[in-house]
């Protein structure tokens, strides 16, 4: 397509053309076609309705890292809850008024000697009921292949320098478990209530690629 030359003179009121660019979403890939075909067949067969699909998407979109942050802040404030969270993550979710989740939850605790970080090298397993949808980088081939191979270099790219005397423990979520990192409670938060603490807990801190916000 040819574009007529045009001038952007200051305060030039003359209408003019900009080059048309192709949309990024206009390619019907194999998997997109398969998804549409399967969804339409299931709707046609009455297995579910289009409204069910939309509700499910809405439900998924309504989950955010705020759920996970609530769990972490509660664990920082309540030693009995922390103990439960580390031994039975699902039970702890229920005790915190959240859903148990469709998978078994393993919570791994950061200590002065150990830094935990989560990856799924095979796909993108993620505790969605606590953190919402995973970020794009979590699903990228680069993160998935590099985190198990050179975790300290990857963490450095997130601005997280783990000293050599602290062990980096990578958790590859390959099967039926889902993982959440319990970060170290930031210094200077003595006496804070759960709500205030939860505001410091970021998604990235619960994946383990960074520390929580500083108070």
């Amino acid at each position: 397509m040819s574009v007529e030359p045009h001038i952007h003179a200051e305060n030039d009121p003359t209408p003019h053309r900009h080059p048309l660019r192709p949309d990024h979403d206009d390619r019907l890939t194999h998997h997109k076609a398969m998804e549409i075909a399967l969804r339409e067949l299931l709707i046609e067969k009455g297995v579910f309705t289009a409204a069910d699909v939309r509700r499910q998407v809405e439900d998924m979109d309504s989950r955010t890292p705020a759920q996970g942050a609530r769990v972490v802040a509660k664990a920082w404030s309540d030693p009995a809850f922390k103990k439960l969270l580390l031994t039975d993550g699902g039970e702890a979710c229920v005790a915190a008024g959240l859903e148990r989740g469709p998978y078994k939850l393993i919570v791994v605790e950061n200590t002065p000697d150990t830094h935990n970080v989560i990856v799924c090298t095979l796909c993108s397993c993620y505790p969605r009921w606590l953190l919402g949808l995973p970020p794009d980088w979590y699903k990228s081939r680069a993160y998935r292949s590099r985190l198990v191979r050179e975790p300290r270099a990857v963490l450095r790219e997130f601005g997280t320098e783990v000293p050599d005397h602290v062990a980096v423990r990578v958790h590859d979520s390959t099967a039926d478990m889902r993982y959440l990192v319990l970060p170290l409670r930031p210094a200077g938060t003595e006496g804070w209530d759960e709500q205030r603490l939860a505001a410091l807990v970021t998604r990235d801190a619960m994946i383990g690629v960074s520390a929580p916000r500083a108070p």
Binding site: R149, A153, A167, A175, D176, M177
Partner: protein, 101 residues
């Protein structure tokens, strides 16, 4: 086969195991980088239908023990550049594990 029947767990926390060095086709959830490597059982996670069977519409029963196996990074990668204490924990089904001899 009743759904609650499970294969008996052969390993306990702390046991040293070797991941089978096998490369079958199909929906396999044991990562390539762990095949043939030595680690130890961090915990038994529970009993789950075998995903390698379920992926093809079969039941995956009897349920299989699933473990978290901890590997030293230096055992996974010969030229690992991080600290000696660094590890990777991987979930692995029992039929992929052999007692280390």
């Amino acid at each position: 086969m009743p759904a609650d029947k499970a294969v008996e767990a052969r390993f306990r926390t702390g046991d040293q195991v070797t991941v089978r060095e096998s490369y079958p086709l199909g929906h396999v959830r044991t990562p390539f980088y762990a095949r043939g490597k030595v680690g130890f059982i961090e915990r038994l996670c529970g009993f789950y239908p075998n995903p390698e069977e379920r992926a093809y519409g079969r039941s995956g029963l009897p349920k299989e023990p699933l473990y978290r196996v901890r590997f030293r990074q230096s055992d996974l990668w010969p030229n690992y550049a991080g600290a000696v204490g660094d590890t990777v924990d991987i979930e692995i089904y029992q039929h992929w594990l052999e007692a280390r001899t």
